[in-house]
Amino acid sequence: MSITPLPPGWWKTPMHTEEKWWISIAVVWCVLITIAMPAWHFVGKQNSSQEYYTIRVEDFNTLAENFMEQYKIGTETAGDYEWDVVAPPPGSDIFLRSMQWKWDPILKLKKDETYRLHLSSIDVLHGFSVHPLNLNFEAVPGWDYVLTITPTSSGEFRIICNEFCGAEHHGMIGKIIVE
């Protein structure tokens, strides 16, 4: 009984055959999934980035603003929000600044070109979620998270904030255009 103390010698009770089999299968399964995860890191091509730097919030803000000024091609509004539309050259370093409650700027990228996306926040934590691909990364103040991205399909993508960031969190939706 599981509620009664055990007499001495219980450690030496042999296992049932079925139990031995089950545990063996479980161990093999655990070993397999343990190998699969690091292996897939090399075989699959979809890992979270390993490139990141600490950065002062003010510095990231300056970098992002310079970037937006340099490549700005227009503006877009929706509701009370207004964004710069920015078309950076392929292969360049591009910046996505998150803040309460906005993703800046609207990025206009080219299909099949590679960019180095610098992701960070200038206030609280935000969550970077690309819709409809459902790819999710964390935007953390004080950390410059560099994601090397190559858009493989064209169209309009939404960036949904999925880390709670305050009263208007649900309204924090940005856009990436790929053509």
């Binding site: 009984m1 599981s2 509620i3 009664t4 103390p5 055990l6 007499p7 001495p8 219980w10 450690w11 009770t13 042999p14 296992m15 049932h16 139990e19 089950w22 545990i23 479980a26 655990c30 999934i33 343990t34 995860m37 690091p38 897939w40 890191h41 979809q46 890992n47 979270s48 980035s49 390993q50 929706a78 509701g79 929000y81 609280v124 934590l125 819709h131 409809p132 459902n134 790819l135 999710n136 990364f137 964390e138 953390v140 004080g142 950390w143 998270y145 939404r158 999925n162 880390e163 709670f164 960031c165 305050g166 009263a167 208007e168 969190h169 649900h170 309204g171 924090m172 939706i173 856009k175």
Partner: protein, 502 residues
Amino acid sequence: MSDFRTCSITGLKVHRPAENLIKINAVTAIVFLLVGGILGLLMVLTRWQAVHILPPELFYRLLTLHGIAMLVAWIIFFEMAALYLTSAVILNSRLAAPWVGWLQYILMLVGGGIVTVIILMGGADVMFTSYVPLQAHPLYYLGVILFAVGAILGCVVFFATVMVAKTEGTYKGSLPLVTFGAACAAIIAIITLSHGAIVFIPTLLWSMGLIPPMDAEVYRLIFWGFGHSSQQINVCTMVAIWYLLGTLTVGSSPLNEKVCRSAFVLYVIFICIASEHHILVDPGFSAAHKSWNTSYFMHLAVLASMIHAFSVPAATEVALRKKGYTRGTFEWLKKAPWGNPGWSSLFLSLVGFGFLGGITGVIYGTEQLNILSHNSLRIPGHFHATVVAGTTLAFMGATYYVLPLIFQREVAFPGLAKIQPYLFGVPIMVFSTFMMVAGGFGISRRSADMYGSGGFTVDYGPMAEISLSIMGLSGVVACLGGAAFCIIAVATLLIGKKIEAK
């Protein structure tokens, strides 16, 4: 009046101070379950996009409270009751230092009370995770710290009681399995609550303006040493209660004590480290670091769950076969006491935790797959399967035995009690499943309106709405099942027939 009474059903000696502490902790737990459940109903009626009743501000405020009331207050108060039950009562011993037990209760109640009030006053719309630099009122952090200190004291009383029982010789041989499992839960609790203290004390000082803010990523790392590992206290306690329910409902004995106990030890060693899966898509940690901690370590803890997943049902099968249900492969399962809420809770909790919660946990905790699930509705779908369908249901099942054994009252409305585990367990599994399905469409968790607020909108397609509707409907039915539990528990305490002590 002596300090002990003898239980007329089990023959165990029950120490009255322990009994009082079990009662008060269990009752407080159920009050928080009721509060959290009402909030849960409001949450589900808001995320069910076609209904969508709460305005954003209120949604975020009450969601914060829903998390605290359920994940922290209901579960940890109940665990305190479980710790006193598995130490003093099961070991036939007196409770060591009951005044420390009362201090535990008062600290947790005051802490929980402060947190509840400050959230309702709008001072802490920060969610259960309260990630810095999103700031809450200092009293919020203070409340959490008081609560955690109280819970640590409860663990101290537990270990002291085990010591007392050993030195006073109230039991012979090795600890019973249920007490052993509870001891593992208490060890995990001390580790995880210390993480809570490490992370919340500087956060409190920061919110008072005394020190600069902590790095947001450091906070996330240490917080999850508290936030997720504290869920492993639940896992451990729940498994201990599975064994307890197996024994109480069909008289089962663990197949092999060595195996069961080793599995518990695996939990203690590995499960705390595994909480790093929360930072799989974060900057600041290398892929090697992330996958080492979340694959190798996590899978050893998963192995422990796999062992229990065999051991618990196999033990009940053996017990039922001994009763003569030996025809065919499944006669024992057919003849199991399905009308006993303790048994049906055990069975549904095993299925919900294992198949829905555990498996999805392993999937979402994989480095690459986490990119597809992080912070989407897949995550709350996963933990409603583990913590609600698993832990909460197991605790409900245990309550059906605590009521007669500790409160000495017959369970009220036995007809309702018979169906309550089904009324709660089945819809909560459907709810969790469709929450995960909705997450697959990229719908974010913790969002007051998935379509935004006047800026850009998002098109999730009609299937997403349908998933949310199924989630909503089953969530409402599950709330009814939860309400039935609260009604039965309260009615038993107020009008349940007294069982006369010998």
